[in-house]
């Protein structure tokens, strides 16, 4: 198994005729999973990369049959609308790659997704990749690079920084540790599947033994992960690194933020919450692979 994507996932690409859409469709075609069709309004009836292009998602699904996921490569201000279109057409999982999607669009999308019993990764995400099985989004960039960077295994990766997501998986591979699924939750403050949701999926995944998490200052994602561990909702070993230690303290502008987050969101809060809950906190990024190896050895020794 793995989470979110595997070799059997069937996917469509929204914005397939654009620059990113073209390059990343080639990535998915070359690495897996199978791309069924593309959508670009106004280009219906054309063909690209050996795939039929449709004007609408509904039109695509009608023709090629149900799909598991849609990957969105449209301009940022159109991204939420594209995701809603996919959900309305019955697609249950949408990966929203573009950066700079307006926050209020994302808030509305959260509600829309809930009403449609759908979920989304991103926005501002590289996507997710299960080594050797498939990728949704642009992780790895090209099939050759993806094959070079990632090796299959039993450690899940979840990260709030795109580049760091691939880095972690690659440095783990170099240390002889393979990964089950690598997830970039997206860099924005509101994302469809934040760390806690990804950990819930990893918890249920029989092929994931432990998880490496890259957290960052801001939002309450990491604190909520700590609560999950305490409640017993996440029981696998978690190795975490929190970025942003050097970020200036005391620059917070908003009283409202301070009131609502109540001290959560900063580096210290995240590190102590996770540490107290029993996660392994790594101080230096470079130490992630060795700490993960140690945790796995302990697990196997048990």
């Amino acid at each position: 198994m793995s989470i979110l994507v595997n070799e059997n996932t069937r996917v469509i690409v929204q914005g397939i005729t654009g620059r990113e859409g073209q390059v990343r469709t080639r990535l998915m075609q070359g690495y897996g999973p199978s791309v069924a069709a593309g959508v670009t309004p106004g280009r219906g009836g054309e063909e690209t990369l050996g795939l039929p292009v449709f004007d609408t998602v509904a039109g695509a699904v009608n023709q090629v049959g149900a799909v598991d996921a849609s990957v969105v490569f449209v301009p940022a201000t159109l991204a939420a609308d594209a995701a809603m279109e996919a959900m309305d057409a019955g697609v249950k999982f949408v990966v929203i790659v573009p950066d700079r999607v307006p926050l209020h669009d994302v808030m509305k999308l959260c509600k829309f997704a809930e009403e449609h019993n759908a979920r989304f990764l991103g926005p501002n995400t590289l996507g997710c990749l299960s080594p050797g099985k498939g990728v949704l989004g642009m992780m790895g960039g090209s099939p050759e690079a993806a094959r070079d960077f990632f090796a299959p295994g039993r450690v899940g990766v979840t990260s709030r920084s795109g580049g760091i997501t691939s880095s972690i998986a690659y440095y783990l591979k170099k240390a002889g540790i393979g990964t089950s699924t690598i997830v970039h939750v997206g860099g924005d403050s509101i994302v469809g599947l934040p760390h806690p949701e990804i950990l819930r999926l990893f918890e249920e995944d029989a092929e994931t033994d432990a998880v490496v998490m890259f957290g960052e200052i801001g939002t309450t994602q990491e604190e909520r992960v700590a609560e999950m561990i305490r409640r017993g909702d996440f029981t696998k070993p978690l190795v975490a690194y929190i970025g942003g230690k050097q970020a200036e303290e005391g620059t917070r502008f908003s009283h409202a933020g301070a009131i609502v987050e109540g001290g959560r969101g900063d580096y210290q809060s995240k590190v102590s919450a996770l540490g107290d809950a029993g996660a392994v906190i790594v101080e230096r990024f470079e130490d992630l692979p060795s700490e993960t190896a140690r945790v796995l050895a302990e697990l196997n020794g048990k």
């Binding site: 209020h104 090209s142 690079a145 580049g163 403050s189 939002t219 970025g243 050097q246």
Partner: protein, 514 residues
């Protein structure tokens, strides 16, 4: 996230019917005094700056006469707050305050969605009072599409102990505040204090307005110059960068000048938020300070990276150039390499550089940097994903110790600088490609054709031309710069890809050249 200054925020509130004190802005003592006369004494004079606790910093004055206004204005204007000067002040009527509250709307990731807040006390330190139980704080999520309903607002007010006539005034205020928040797509919007006057009216006495940078383009009424969190009024170079970025949407380019002082300032060129943060940490650990923050990520074109490099170099006063991102990037790294080569040869680079371009196609990226920059009088070292940011910072440290900045020198740029004898030119997305066919006729290898992955060039009549008419094919050029570098590499220098940055040359001229 970009913020609005108080006077701008209040202007927006007023448009939505939210009562704000009568006020005017002024940029000097005369204007301030005249404004105060019009408003009527007593007045409040408030420095317009992005800081909290202005009263405690002497940035707010209460004045009873024109003379007092003049004194206060001269004191405040020109003072530096957070490294940048105060340029405007707001003169307002002084409210007769009966009590102060706190009201806000914000986005929280926990719900996720918008949240309305009301506290029965206001002023700075309200978060501490709420934490200590000295203030009552009521909050509730509301619908991002339909807004805060009146009964929802009322329940918040009741929770905060508001009764009688004031109940409808405060709830009405909250409903309007939520409307501003949703309509203007704010990230957070706070009124602190929300003043109840002796006359029983409510006023927004101060307002913190954080814009959603990603939506700023849809709200010209907010007057955002740079839709980014920068914490200071934008500098000239930052404005030039932002204006260019607004016209070129391939990937992200973000440039910010930093005020940190240090004797080893480095031009910093990152890629991606997390990786940049990690790389800057590594620099700092080696006793460097970053002169700037710069991020080119999200698969930017070579042309964009070239322009970013020019901004970094244009700051001047650096002892080294450090490029480093996450180390395992998905974007094709040769674009960044080509952009830097063009910028470094053109400027030319006068300090050691360490370029860490790990990730997709890094071998080619490293090869390009080596091939085109090895003849510079300063060392340029290139690394990939197997070398950590920490190691690269260490290399820069060693290089900087050995190689102080060199004097300006002559360097042959990759682009042709001579006027073409037989010019063939076409416009591409953000610039122009000019080829001198007089040179091309003597060219044997013609590597330009093969280097063009967009496959828009062909040899016709013994020289490279677009295969199809320019209207149909020039837009397919990705400004990858491969043809210019290939031609330069063949020793021909027939191609000049001209990539202007509006305002950049003027900026350099004003500064007295390079």
């Amino acid at each position: 996230m970009a913020k609005l200054l108080e006077h701008k925020a209040k202007e927006i509130l007023a448009r939505f019917g939210i009562p704000v004190p009568r006020g005017e802005i002024a940029a000097d003592a005369d204007e301030a005094a005249a404004a105060a006369e019009r408003i009527g004494f007593p007045v409040v004079l408030k420095a317009q700056a992005f800081v909290t606790g202005r009263a405690g910093k002497g940035l707010i004055h209460f004045c009873d006469s024109s003379a007092e206004v003049r004194d206060a204005a001269s004191d405040v204007l020109g003072r530096t707050v957070g490294g940048f000067p105060v340029e405007t002040i707001l003169i307002e009527e002084k409210l007769r305050i009966a009590s102060e509250l706190f009201a806000a709307c914000m986005v929280t990731d926990e719900i996720p969605g918008p949240l309305a807040l009301l506290a029965d006390r206001g002023g700075s330190g309200v978060e501490q009072m709420a934490r200590d139980g000295k203030a009552t704080l009521a909050s509730r999520p509301f619908d991002a599409t339909t807004g805060l309903k009146l009964y929802e607002a009322r329940s918040l007010a009741v929770e905060c102990g508001i009764t009688g006539k004031q109940l409808s005034a405060v709830s009405g205020f909250l409903v309007r505040l939520a409307k501003v928040f949703l309509t203007e797509e704010a990230r957070s919007l706070e009124v602190n204090p929300l003043v109840m006057t002796e006359g029983g009216k409510v006023f927004a006495a101060d307002c913190h307005f954080s814009v959603d940078d990603y939506a700023a383009g849809r709200h010209p009424e907010l007057g955002i110059e740079i839709a980014r969190e920068i914490g200071h009024p934008p500098t000239e170079l930052e404005k030039i960068a932002a204006a260019y970025e607004a016209t070129d949407h391939r990937g992200t380019f973000y440039f910010l000048e930093l005020s940190a002082e240090g004797d080893r300032p480095v031009g910093f060129h990152g890629a991606g938020g997390g990786g940049s943060m990690m790389s800057m940490d590594a620099l700092v650990r080696h006793g460097f300070t970053a002169k700037n923050f710069c991020d080119t990520s999200g698969n930017p074109s070579a042309a964009k990276v070239y322009r970013a490099s020019k901004h970094i170099l244009a700051q001047g006063g650096i002892v080294g150039y450090f490029a480093s991102g996450s180390g395992v990037a998905s974007q094709e790294q040769f674009h960044s390499a080509r952009g830097m080569v063009k910028a470094f040869r053109e400027w030319p680079l006068n300090v050691p550089a360490v370029i860490r371009l790990g990730g997709n196609k890094e071998e080619l990226a490293i090869e390009i940097l080596g091939k085109f920059l090895s003849d510079l009088p300063v060392p340029v070292e290139a690394y990939g994903k197997d070398d950590s940011a920490a190691f690269c910072a260490e290399r820069l440290d060693a290089l900087v110790k050995e190689h102080p900045p060199v004097e300006p020198y002559d360097c042959i740029p990759t682009a042709r600088t001579e006027v073409a004898k037989d010019e063939y030119a076409f416009d591409v997305r953000t610039g122009t490609i000019s080829i001198d066919h007089a040179i091309c006729r003597n060219c044997e290898s013609r590597p330009c054709i093969e280097s063009c992955h967009a496959e828009i060039l062909e040899i016709a009549n013994s020289a490279p031309r677009l295969k199809e008419p320019a209207e149909e094919s020039a837009h397919r050029c990705t400004e990858c710069l491969a043809c210019e570098l290939a031609c330069y590499g063949a020793g021909m220098r027939s191609i000049a890809i001209n990539l202007p940055i509006p305002g950049f040359d003027e900026y350099l001229a004003k500064r007295g050249g390079q």
